[in-house]
Symmetry: D2
Subunit: 92 residues, 4 copies
């Protein structure tokens, strides 16, 4: 995932925060916290996940599509992004 060389640490940090939020949901379920709290936690995770996904799509678009070195690489990267968009919209 070359385009994240520079930004890799930041992305990994965001993923770890998301994992931490999942662990909070797990603890909330196990300690039988109010359901409303669990739903709020899940909604926040969704927001954070969307933010991360959009950022990664934008990086991919900028570094792999726009700045591709060959036409073949550009088409390949665009096709990956198109596939991710389809899955993303379907998967909601």
């Amino acid at each position: 995932m070359s385009h994240t060389h520079r930004s890799k640490d930041k992305l990994v940090a965001r993923i770890r925060r998301l994992k931490g939020q999942m662990e909070a949901v797990e603890r909330a379920l196990e300690s039988e916290q109010p359901c409303g709290d669990v739903l709020q936690l899940l909604a926040s995770i969704r927001g954070a996940l969307s933010g991360l996904t959009v950022e990664l799509m934008q990086e991919h678009l900028s570094e792999h599509v726009v700045q591709a070195e060959t036409d073949a690489e550009r088409r390949q990267a665009a096709s990956e992004l198109a596939e991710a968009l389809r899955t993303y919209m379907r998967g909601e």
Copy 2:
């Protein structure tokens, strides 16, 4: 989170699977896997998270709103669900 007494184990298992999917994203980033793969992983997490959220909302509706013991409890549970819906839609 009383309404998940019965289903708690199943919910916890789903949360752990989601956490495992997050860890796969973390590994994918660290081992510099292709960006398209990371985007696919994120899209799958989104789908799994939506499925879990809808299921929890339905359980909450059925067990805390419909089967509430008092009117006050019912209103409280409905207000929690309404708040979760707002956050969920806003947070995408």
Copy 3:
């Protein structure tokens, strides 16, 4: 749609605004406006549609589920809401 007796006019006004936004997309396509503009219009429609749907779900929850006159009506209304949630999340 009894629970909208009071709020019916407001809801109809919002729907008409959405229809107007669709007509703007139609005109933008026909007059070959930049694709980015059309995408922005579609994204705005999505936001307005989500807002309207959440509001209607909240009204339904409050007036048909919480304030149902019989248990049977309450269960029926809750089941309609659960079905709408499923379709909504799947349909994204």
Copy 4:
């Protein structure tokens, strides 16, 4: 919106279908149809809107970004797509 020259008629037909679905919601509200039916109609509109948006984003990516004639045009088209992605995710 040059990239839809070929596909313009198909897109306009889909937008008109969406407008027709909005009109069905308007009629359902005015004739006081059950709220559950209105929610189902809104959820279907959301699905159709997402499908249309993804298709348009893919076309934009393929025709304006990948097949751009100059680097400046490519960057401009990519920036429009990035902006649409941000609004889309935020606007849910």
